[in-house]
């Protein structure tokens, strides 16, 4: 198989340079050359398709003369269509005319006479340079990609350090960890650092799909396979073809789906619901769960053979309470993220606020921390976030330090604040609609907003940033 695809594009076929280049390049086991002549200095649909299918490592652009109007635009199009391929211009021109070549988008130029050895050396050097660029690009992607998994605690780093090796191995992976520990982020990192990175990553939460639909969602179905199956439909395995299927809460799979999944893992074969035809699929499965899967196996909810098949390489993500030193690191990261998104003045935490964050046990882990910081940023109008700004939605907040009356007031105000905020968020800051949903007079609802100093405008903004919305 040829190492490199070269696209030789000749504009105006009567120029003999293209034919000479073809002779120099082939036959050569390292190159697969596609030769195309064009009358106009533009890229038509057919050529665009060739570029997309061939994915050339290098483009040789043979031009009749210089200067040439439209060359700039042609180079721009080539950069869009074949971003990773350097373009070499081959043109019969003298040194002075070469000044007319556009500055951007050309990796090299060759002028006649075309000498076999010289042309090949220059082309090979460029192709090797591309590989070097690609290597640098991949190394950076790995480094920066993994930096998104924030944390410095040894337990966390020990697990994260497995990712690059596991990614390249193309085997099933089982991710375990409490809810909110970042299992999907790790699954995604494994996918994007693997050879499947250019294909789809399909995450599915098995616990969120009704049991009776799970099998059809995963494997697809034929028309009429069950009541309501008016049309045939591809399953998620088909959707993830050649890519990665991330099965969260895998222990929620019904028994029949578990059998089918096991068969698929063993033979790469499956049948769509209502079909007798066996289909093959090439999908990497990454499974995840927040349950103790040994217990699920013992209880009979997860098949032992499926568990062993999925658990080829286990990764266990530690809960946030066991990564105490990462709490402030993560809190600062989320603070920077939400402050920028919501245009907030908040830039740091007071020592007391940090201490409060450190003392909490974070049952919802990193996700809970992110949501909390998002909420604090929306409500805080100061540069430094104080202890009082941090209100946990859990039940553990300094219970023993307060009297019954204080605690009751605290809980009520916490409930009222959260309730009003949730409605404002749901109705995009529209007070009348929020009040109607609460079955309260608008005036009474407004009193609550005023009492808790809730900035209604911010909820209008928060809705624009859907992804950054800490309550979704």
């Amino acid at each position: 198989m040829a190492k490199w695809n070269i696209l030789l594009l000749e504009f105006e076929a009567d120029v003999p340079l293209g034919k000479t280049l073809l002779q120099i390049l082939g036959p050569n086991p390292d190159f697969r050359v596609a030769y195309r002549t064009c009358r106009e200095l533009s890229i038509d649909e057919e050529l665009s398709q060739i570029i997309s299918e061939q994915n050339p490592s290098l483009i040789l652009l043979v031009l009749p003369h210089l200067p040439l109007s439209g060359l700039d635009s042609l180079l721009r199009t080539l950069r869009t269509e074949a971003a990773s391929a350097p373009v070499v211009v081959v043109v019969d021109a003298d040194q002075e005319q070469l000044i007319e070549l556009p500055r951007a988008g050309i990796a090299d130029f060759i002028i006649p006479p075309l000498r076999n050895s010289e042309v090949l050396v220059r082309i090979r050097r460029l192709l090797n340079d591309v590989s070097q660029e690609e290597k640098t690009s991949r190394a950076l992607t790995e480094k920066l990609g993994l930096q998104q998994l924030i944390g410095k605690s040894p337990a966390f780093l020990a697990e994260i350090s497995k990712i690059p090796v596991i990614a390249k191995a193309d085997i099933s992976v089982m991710l375990s960890g409490e809810t909110g520990t970042g299992k999907e982020m790790v699954g995604r990192a494994i996918h994007y650092l693997s050879s499947r990175a250019s294909k789809s990553f399909v995450p599915v939460n098995c616990g969120a799909i009704p049991v009776e639909l799970l099998e059809s969602e995963l494997f697809g179905h034929e028309r009429g396979a069950f009541t309501g199956a008016a049309q045939a439909r591809d399953g998620l395995i088909q959707e993830a073809e050649k890519g990665t299927l991330f099965l969260d809460e895998v222990d929620c799979l019904p028994q029949l789906a578990q059998v089918k999944l096991l068969r698929f893992l063993q033979s790469k074969e499956y049948r769509r619901l209502g079909s007798t035809k066996v289909v093959t699929g090439d999908v990497r499965i990454i499974a995840a769960s927040n349950a103790n899967l040994e217990q699920s196996v013992a209880a009979g909810t997860l098949r032992r053979d499926l568990y062993y098949r999925l658990n080829v390489v286990p990764i266990g993500l530690p809960p946030l309470r066991e990564r105490a030193h990462d709490i402030c690191l993560l809190a600062r990261h989320f603070l920077a993220k939400y402050s920028a998104q919501l245009d907030s003045p908040a830039v740091d935490f007071s020592p007391e606020a940090e201490r409060k964050l450190m003392l909490y046990d974070w049952p919802g882990n990193v996700r809970e921390l992110e949501h909390l910081i998002g909420r604090v940023v929306v409500l805080c109008n100061q540069k430094i976030i104080q202890e009082d700004h941090i209100i946990f939605s859990g039940k553990h907040d300094n219970l023993i330090q307060l009297s019954f009356r204080e605690m009751k007031e605290n809980v009520i105000s916490q409930f009222e604040t959260n309730y009003v905020q949730s409605l404002l968020l749901a109705y995009k800051g529209n007070i009348s609609k929020a009040a109607r949903a609460a079955q309260k007079e608008r005036r009474t609802f407004w009193e609550l907003i005023r009492k808790y100093k809730i900035d209604v405008e911010k909820f209008k903004v928060a809705n624009i940033h859907e992804s950054g919305n800490p309550w979704v």
Binding site: S137, S200, F201, K242
Partner: protein
């Protein structure tokens, strides 16, 4: 923080360029933020820098030297120090 038009256009370009290069790719919003944009930015920067280095070598302002392990080391071309100084003090013609 709101994007200006140029930033918005750049993000559009990154997403579309990623999909042009990887037509079978698919992911949720998180995947686009965490990996597609990262990948595309790295690729864009690496290509631009590689192109700039090639151009500077072609112009003779920097020289390349291939090491025994085939790595290429780039250095300034000392004979062109004056040209480099002049060039750095000149305004960018594109501006």
């Amino acid at each position: 923080m709101k994007f200006n038009r140029e930033q918005e256009r750049q993000v559009h370009d990154y997403i579309l360029a990623y999909l042009c290069n990887n037509p079978d790719a698919g992911d949720t919003f998180d995947g686009i933020v965490e990996w597609w944009l990262l990948h595309q930015r790295i690729k864009f920067e690496t290509q631009n820098i590689a192109e700039a280095v090639r151009r500077l070598v072609a112009e003779g302002l920097i020289v390349e030297h291939r090491e025994p392990d085939s790595r290429i080391i780039y250095r300034v071309n000392r004979t062109t120090a004056k040209d480099i100084q002049t060039r750095l003090s000149e305004p960018d013609p594109a501006e």
